[in-house]
Symmetry: C2
Subunit: 347 residues, 2 copies
């Protein structure tokens, strides 16, 4: 199946130009990719004029409106039939596209995708998953990163299954290792939902994942585990704490490097090293947060992603389609559905 | 009142030697400090022999046993009358000491302190607070860092009052700014408890704090706020994510500096800069996590703290006693007690 990706051309800090350039880069690497650009037709045409190769593989779907960066999810939902974001997701639902990529408002994209695509049978709530850099060669899949502020144990078990399916597709691991984020690694630590999820995952058998208990947040970047599962509040806190700390340390470094002439010279000489660091931490190399658990593939590109970042997001979307993430999640769900009772149903 | 600090001499990675050396450093800076060392008498005597000045201001209380680093809180409680940690806290309760400092097992110290000292009237649960480095001159007070995995809005309001009292004492701020950790800054974001706490704090008046809404975890280290309040799960996740990220970035830096001869030379030349960085991030400069909300002052020194770190913890303990943290918390509690209804009572 040739992946045909619907691109919300209007989202993100830059918008049309970088979304089209990113798609062109992805198309350059993958000759079979097809695109459906959704948004202002005139501007998309102008941007495509610079990329004839991409142009030949693209169609345009004109959208009158856009979802603003500060729109509330409820506002975005009301208007979704006319917005580039809403129409890109609708194209996935109708089958015109096999996946959607947007760099727009995350909350709006979540709400629109949830309403249009609904969740896979057996999944109570979708989750936002992303790839975070580690000291090892492979990134760690972490979810939920903010879609669900409060989660019960059943949600967490479903996230484990979804995250493992994602890791298997991206890295080809047969049984990715999975841990629950916790405030200690001993049994009995943490909240009720975390305890309950650990119980259910320990008892499950035949899953395409290797549940290894708990991980603390200082080990997220060590690469000791393939998938980290948590509720959306803690996941968002961890993700943003990591981002903030990386910025904090590099700011401090910059400040101290500039504190003396000697340091300045040292900084210039060692610039290739600090650039290697920047390269490794660059979110563009890890771009492509995914809403897992929906009847369709929707990838959130970072608002500030450059064309390399957008190309990454497009490739992630295509991989998830080609390797049928939906089917993999469903298969594994059958193996745990009996284990985590329906405490979630009432929530 | 001359502060008399009970020191659990046996806790921490190194134990007696560093605890005594740290106390000696604090005593060197503050002539009025008195000490009660609790632990193995022979070893404490030997360590004190190197510090005659400290020796003259110290008594020793022999304890037969120690709380091991991996003991569960329940085990530690059972045996607490014979352990150096249990006896140091008991000395605070009996009035023999005005505060206790331990570098031992955090969970055990919390459990022992809670049982022996009980909470201040009006406080449902104590919290673990610490000072974290920022880009500004003052550290940020953050709590809870792991004492209570699950919190309701009433707990969070109480933590806000306790954290502000801590910030006022450490930095002399009249009305420290306080924010609740959240996954967005818009109204309506986050969990029920976070929403409820924000409501109560917005309505409260006459508090010795300035409630300013929400802060996201990427802003913890910017210094934009004096006190950050959250539940123990998220607080622990944020703290450890920060620690892990700092280590991750410095490891990456080291690796990239060593990747070429040119970088190595640059690294050597810029060493004063990287040392400034290490100095700023060194936990020994921010040591002294405090259990707030108890009828007594208990400070947790980091297990790996050196003598400078222990001296910091001792000074924090003395400051909290001298500036009567307990009284300040009680005063402010009266002003919010009517605002956050007793949803916590049943939990």
């Amino acid at each position: 199946m040739r992946p045909r990706i619907a691109i919300d051309a209007m989202g993100g800090d830059v918008g049309v130009r970088v979304m089209v350039a990113g798609a062109a880069l992805a198309r350059h690497r993958h000759e079979d990719f097809q695109f459906l650009f959704v948004g202002d037709e005139t501007r998309i045409k102008a941007a495509l004029a610079n990329h004839p190769n991409l142009s030949a593989a693209s169609e345009i779907l004109h959208a009158e409106e856009i979802v603003s960066a500060d729109a509330k999810p409820s506002q975005a939902l009301r208007n979704s039939k006319k917005t580039s974001m809403g129409m890109a997701v609708a194209a996935v639902k109708s089958g015109e596209a096999s996946a959607a990529v947007s760099a727009g408002n995350t909350g709006a994209l979540m709400a629109i995708s949830k309403l249009a695509l609904r969740t896979i049978p057996g999944i109570d709530r979708p989750a936002l998953a992303a790839l975070l850099p580690t000291m090892k060669d492979s990134d760690v899949v972490m979810l939920d990163l903010g879609a669900n502020a409060e989660c019960d144990s059943r949600n967490l078990v479903q996230f484990a299954v979804m995250g493992a399916a994602y890791s298997r597709i991206i890295y080809g691991f047969e049984k990715p290792s999975v841990k629950l984020l916790n405030i200690g690694t001993e049994d009995g630590k943490g909240t009720g939902p975390v305890q309950g999820a650990a119980d259910a995952l320990r008892k499950a058998s035949g899953l395409a994942l290797d549940f290894q208990g708990f991980v603390e947040a200082d080990k997220i970047s060590t690469g000791e585990v393939d998938v980290i599962v948590t509720d959306g509040f803690s996941g968002n806190v961890a993700l943003k704490a990591l981002e903030g700390a990386a910025r904090f340390v590099t700011d401090l470094l910059k400040r101290s490097f500039l504190s003396s002439l000697r340091s300045k010279i040292g900084f210039l000489i060692s610039r290739p090293a600090t650039e290697l660091l920047r390269e490794h931490l660059d979110p563009n190399n890890h771009n492509g947060a995914v809403f897992l658990g929906l009847n369709g593939v929707v990838v959130k590109s970072h608002g500030s992603a450059d064309e390399k970042g957008v190309a990454n997001a497009v490739e992630v979307a295509a991989r998830l389609v080609e390797d049928s993430i939906l089917g993999r999640i469903s298969e594994d769900l059958d193996k745990v559905s009996s284990l985590a009772p329906s405490e979630a149903a009432s929530k």
